[in-house]
């Protein structure tokens, strides 16, 4: 049996090519994902571990849990603690560090690198006056205010040398700094493409903490002292609001965080790999169905000479196994290539990934082989069973077993039930999981129904096809000739397009909703914030409010607190100007009289805590002082404006350090390039500070949504490519099966062009059929998902992206034309004589 199966595979090499390619692509996607994520994860872990080599125990501020402590951040660690830690038995040396955000502008004044990965820290001269973490490559360490050292990668990228002056910004004002040194580091952030600026310790403390305070104290153990022993010693001297952690635990925690992040990415990618493989199943099933029907006589002969049904099925499955194994191995190799290629690509686009060896996890090898073989055998199972049903007598006559209409009736009934259940679930769904289930059911239902749908939908295309004369007519009829095959081919394309369209509909609608929100809820002309989303210095608000031409301004100032036992962020606003800057709908009360102990609350928070107008909130402020706040208004919150708002003056006495999340500004001149420029200038032309009008905000959000959408398009493109292989496969089969007809058509006078056109139009019809189904389903699912989003986003409304939908339809058409290239050529070149003679 095995030998016959193997012979069959070899005999049908060409016809199995598309199947192998489809499986290979899916497997390559899986193994590529696994190799890529393992490699990157490994590289990040190694680079982060390097960062902890000098740390045996780290002391960090620790906010106490429960109701006892202050809701605010724990105070930074003092010099006293550092001195005491140095004297603990077993401690060899201590390093105090402070760090935070530090934007560095390049020579053109633009921000260097990604905002969030730009950090600053202190140079802590230890014994011998050197900081072992940051060996200087050239120049010397920063020693005074106005001096910095830059990491070598960043200095190279921007072309800075020792002696240059660099514009740096920490939380608002621009600080011109002289570069005194360039150092090398294996800091994980830098390895991942960020920048690192070093200040001398007192300057860094002033910028990031308070004079004389550190955000972390690292203790190195003396030889012979273990990390845990050192930690036990240190625990004895620690105040309540600080905690010690061993370097090993820090490294492990970091590794866990990296692994979790990578797993998320891996799972995301694997979902798309799964979609590609799922699409591939249709092609495999189509191919094996055809191979079995072509071999009807041969299989019947085997039955006639004594092979059992099971043996026949097994021979088909063995064939599938061989095909799957070959494809899986090829896919694994391709996947390893993709995995290493992707990293090179990422490095090329500027997102620096730490160096590291290519990691091929055993899971990649095992899952590639299992997935490739199992998927192929699964898809070949039904054709294999059908093969076993061929009666031995079929060997004697030329009547081919034709699928009975009864099975289509059964199929249609099942499909109708599934699709109806899917639609019902989608319509009544209140949660994402039910919606997802409904969508999956609907997709399967529609897939089962496609043979039925193919006739009326393709018939609808008849008037268009009539333009192409006899080629069009024959193409239409050929397309519905084998409804199952057409359906499977179109379904493969449908799945990809459904997802693409659905995502596009949702993304477009969400973009629009956010746009609406921004324009409806905000009256301010500009919103000023840090590019890194880190807090702004209160100086920024002071500077802006003092500007000529600024009519109103207010910060959104965050202050952690505990209300009724739960942790909450209080948002401080300027109660005098807030009504000029926002346009919030109040269901009860208003901003009027927002001062003293009054607060306004968004409706959702109010509802979840049962707060009403006049409710008293038992509040612990960030400094631990307690007080009572009274609700004086409830407003309709949205994604840009929500939370518990109080007057900034109410917060002021409790805040030791003021940080503003953003500042809203209204100007006399309104929104214009000039007024934006003047604000920017007033803030010292700081590239780290964003001055955005409403349009900028909508655009940046739309940009982020678009970026994500494009990534998803890229991932779904794989499924579409596999679908293209499916169309090629189906057409090649059709051409092969109909060679006698094609020969006859050529003999009685259809020229090569006409034959080519016939094949191309058939391909076009099938592809557009899949495209129309996919886009239709995508719109429906997008609409249904939108209904869920509407609950969370009041301004949400369905926006149908007609332009894009048109493009998707064109894409489907392009798929059709492209897929037909080779089969059409083959059909036109067919040897007429042998085609006619073939019986």
């Amino acid at each position: 049996m095995f030998r016959t199966a193997l012979r069959n595979v070899l005999a049908h090499k060409a016809r199995l090519l598309m199947t192998v390619l489809a499986v290979m692509l899916g497997v390559a996607f899986v193994s590529g994902t696994l190799v890529f994520t393992s490699t990157i994860s490994d590289a990040y872990q190694k680079s982060s571990q390097k960062g902890f080599t000098g740390v045996d125990v780290a002391i960090q501020p620790h906010r106490e849990d429960g109701d006892k402590g202050k809701p605010g951040a724990a105070p930074d660690l003092g010099q006293g603690l550092l001195d005491r830690a140095a004297k603990v038995p077993g401690a060899a040396s201590v390093t105090g560090s402070v760090n935070g955000f530090a934007a560095i502008s390049d020579k053109k004044g633009k921000l260097l690198g990604e905002g969030f990965a730009s950090s600053g820290a202190n140079y802590y001269p230890g014994t011998g006056g050197k900081d072992p973490r940051y060996p200087m490559k050239s120049g010397r360490a920063p020693q005074a205010k106005g001096e910095i050292a830059l990491d070598a990668t960043t200095a190279d990228r921007a072309g800075y040398k020792v002696g240059d002056t660099v514009r740096v910004s920490v939380n608002g004002p621009v600080l011109p700094q002289k570069v005194t040194g360039i150092f090398t580091t294996d800091d994980g952030n830098v390895a991942a493409g960020g920048s690192l600026a070093l200040f001398d310790t007192p300057t860094a403390q002033k910028l990031y903490a308070k004079p004389g305070r550190f955000s972390e104290i690292d203790v190195k153990a003396a030889p012979g002292t273990s990390q845990t022993a050192l930690k036990t010693e240190l625990d004895k001297i620690l105040p309540r609001d600080a905690e010690a952690t061993t370097g090993k635990k820090l490294a492990d925690d970091q590794a866990k965080i990296i692994a979790t992040g990578m797993n998320g990415m891996k799972d995301g990618l694997l979902i798309f790999a799964g979609i590609s493989l799922f699409v591939g199943i249709f092609i495999i099933a189509n191919t094996f169905t055809m191979l079995v029907s072509q071999r009807t006589k041969e299989l019947a002969l085997m039955r006639a000479v004594g092979a059992s049904r099971r043996q026949v099925t097994r021979s088909v499955l063995i064939e599938a196994f061989v095909v799957g194994a070959v494809a899986a191995v090829a896919g694994l190799v391709a996947g390893i290539g993709i995995g290493s290629g992707l990293r090179a690509l990422m490095n090329g686009t500027g997102a620096t990934v730490p160096d590291g060896p290519l990691v091929i996890p055993p899971s990649a090898i095992i899952s590639s082989l299992v997935v490739g073989i199992v998927v192929t055998m699964l898809a070949a199972w039904l054709p294999g069973r059908r093969a076993a049903k061929i009666p031995p007598v079929a060997a004697m006559n030329s009547v081919h077993a034709v699928a009975t209409t009864r099975s289509l009736v059964v199929r249609n009934s099942i499909g109708a039930v599934l699709a109806a259940a899917g639609v019902a679930l989608v319509l009544v769904s209140k949660t994402q999981s039910i919606l997802g289930m409904g969508a999956a059911l609907l997709l399967v239902g529609v897939f089962v129904l496609t043979p039925l749908l193919s006739r009326p939908l393709i018939a609808a295309a008849a008037p268009v096809l009539r333009v192409f004369g006899i080629s069009g007519k024959l193409a239409r009829q050929n397309a519905v000739r084998n409804p199952r095959r057409t359906a499977a081919t179109a379904s493969a394309l449908m799945i990809g397009l459904t997802l693409i369209t659905g995502l596009t509909v949702i993304a477009g609608s969400v973009s629009k909703a956010i746009d609406k929100m921004a324009t409806e809820a905000i009256k301010a002309d500009y919103i000023v914030s840090m590019a890194s989303r880190t807090p702004l210095s209160p100086d920024v608000e002071k500077k802006l409010s003092a500007l000529d031409g600024v009519t109103a301004s207010s910060p959104l100032r965050q202050s952690p607190s505990r209300i009724d036992g739960d942790f909450q962020q209080l948002v401080g606003v300027n109660s005098k100007t807030i009504t000029d800057l926002t346009k919030l709908d109040f269901t009860k009360g208003s901003f009027a009289g927002l001062s003293g102990n009054k607060v306004v609350v968004d409706d959702k928070t109010a509802r979840s805590y049962g707060w009403k107008l006049g409710s008293t909130l038992d509040t612990t402020f960030e400094d631990g002082k307690r007080g009572k706040l009274t609700v004086s208004g409830v407003y309709v919150g949205n994604d840009l404006m929500r939370g518990i708002m109080v007057d900034t003056r109410t917060l002021a006495p409790h805040q030791s350090e003021i940080t503003d999340q953003q500042v809203m500004v209204k100007t006399k001149a309104g929104v214009s390039e000039a007024s934006k420029e003047s604000l920017h200038k007033a803030l010292g032309d700081n590239p780290a500070i964003l001055v955005q009008d409403k349009k900028d905000i909508s655009e940046s959000i739309a940009g982020a949504i678009n970026l994500m959408l494009n990534m998803l398009y890229g991932l779904l493109a794989m499924a579409v490519i596999v679908a293209v292989l499916g169309v090629v496969n189906t057409l090649a089969m059709s051409v092969f099966e109909r060679s006698q007809e094609i020969g006859m058509l050529r003999a009685i006078g259809l020229d090569r062009k006409g034959i080519k056109r016939m094949v191309r139009l058939e391909s076009l019809v099938i592809s557009l059929f899949g495209g129309v189904l996919g886009i239709g389903l995508g719109v429906f699912l997008g609409w249904a998902a939108g209904e869920l989003i509407r609950n969370a986003m009041a301004t949400y409304e369905l926006v149908l992206p007609w332009g894009r939908m048109g493009i998707f339809l064109l894409l489907a058409a392009a798929v059709g034309v492209l897929a037909a290239l080779w089969p059409a050529r083959r059909a036109a070149r067919l040897n007429m004589l042998s085609a006619i003679k073939a019986e």
């Binding site: 004369g469 006899i470 050929n478 006698q740 007809e741 006859m744 259809l750 020229d751 090569r752 006619i836």
Partner: protein, 260 residues
């Protein structure tokens, strides 16, 4: 020359030649494996004549037909349909010639299963983008006795009926010449006789020209003339043949083949 009410030529022999081969040579393969299928064959097919080409397998009779019908390329000599020299035509022109001037009947019927009988009959005209001549079409359909079955698909028709559709398809475009390749090979004798009758009638009554390849002496006896082929050469010719006469000749070739 008399004319029917449809303006069709009736059974009047003319001397005009519908197709002619001159020193037609066809060679397959190269070097040692070279096979000469047609060895400088010269033959004429006159208008309104029913010619049968006979010969043992491998005699080149099918090759002769394929070359004359523009289905296969020629190694040497000339093949003409009317005034058109086939050997000088490119594929496009050859295709057009087949479409407009030649009718085909195949052993395996070769109907399109997706089209009904009528659509199959008008297929050549649909390909050309021409409207069929309604009167002629009705007459052809009547002649082959398919009036009641025009809406049937091929799989709803018997073999004989399918071949009658094929005959009608060949006739519908009023070709200058019709080529039939073993048209009765897949039929029982009764259906075969019917089809042969239609072919003869189309020559006698409609003035068509038919060239038929067959190895069945009975089928050949329906023709006006039988051309015998052996080893790629024309070896004999018979006019007004009977089945017995054809069989006799065939036996003679066989005997000759065995003795030589």
């Amino acid at each position: 020359m008399t004319t029917t009410p449809f303006g069709v030529q009736t059974a009047v022999r003319t001397t005009a030649v519908a197709a002619r081969a001159t020193d037609l040579t066809k060679v397959y393969g190269q070097g040692e494996t070279q096979v000469v299928a047609l060895d400088a064959v010269s033959v004429e097919f006159r208008q309104a004549e029913f010619t049968a080409i006979m010969g043992p397998s491998g005699s080149g009779k099918s090759t002769l037909m394929h070359c004359m019908a523009g289905l296969d390329s020629v190694s040497g000599g000339s093949a003409r349909i009317g005034d058109t020299e086939l050997t000088s035509l490119n594929d496009k022109k050859l295709t057009r010639l087949r479409r407009d001037k030649i009718g085909f009947i195949f052993q395996a019927f070769n109907l399109l299963p997706t089209l009904n009988a009528l659509e199959n009959i008008t297929l050549p005209m649909d390909i050309a983008g021409r409207k069929p001549d309604k009167q002629w079409l009705d007459m052809v359909v009547d002649t082959v006795g398919l009036s009641g079955r025009l809406k049937h698909r091929p799989n709803q028709l018997s073999g004989g009926q399918q071949q009658r559709v094929a005959v009608a398809r060949a006739l519908a475009g009023r070709p200058e010449i019709m080529f039939a390749d073993e048209p009765t090979g897949n039929l029982d004798s009764r259906s075969g006789a019917e089809v042969l009758g239609f072919l003869r009638n189309s020559v006698r009554e409609l003035g068509q020209t038919v060239v038929m390849v067959t190895h069945d002496p009975v089928a050949a006896s329906y023709a006006d003339r039988v051309v015998f082929l052996a080893d790629g050469r024309i070896v004999d010719e018979l006019r007004e043949p009977t089945a017995d006469a054809v069989l006799d000749r065939m036996k003679r070739f066989d005997a000759k083949g065995r003795t030589s």
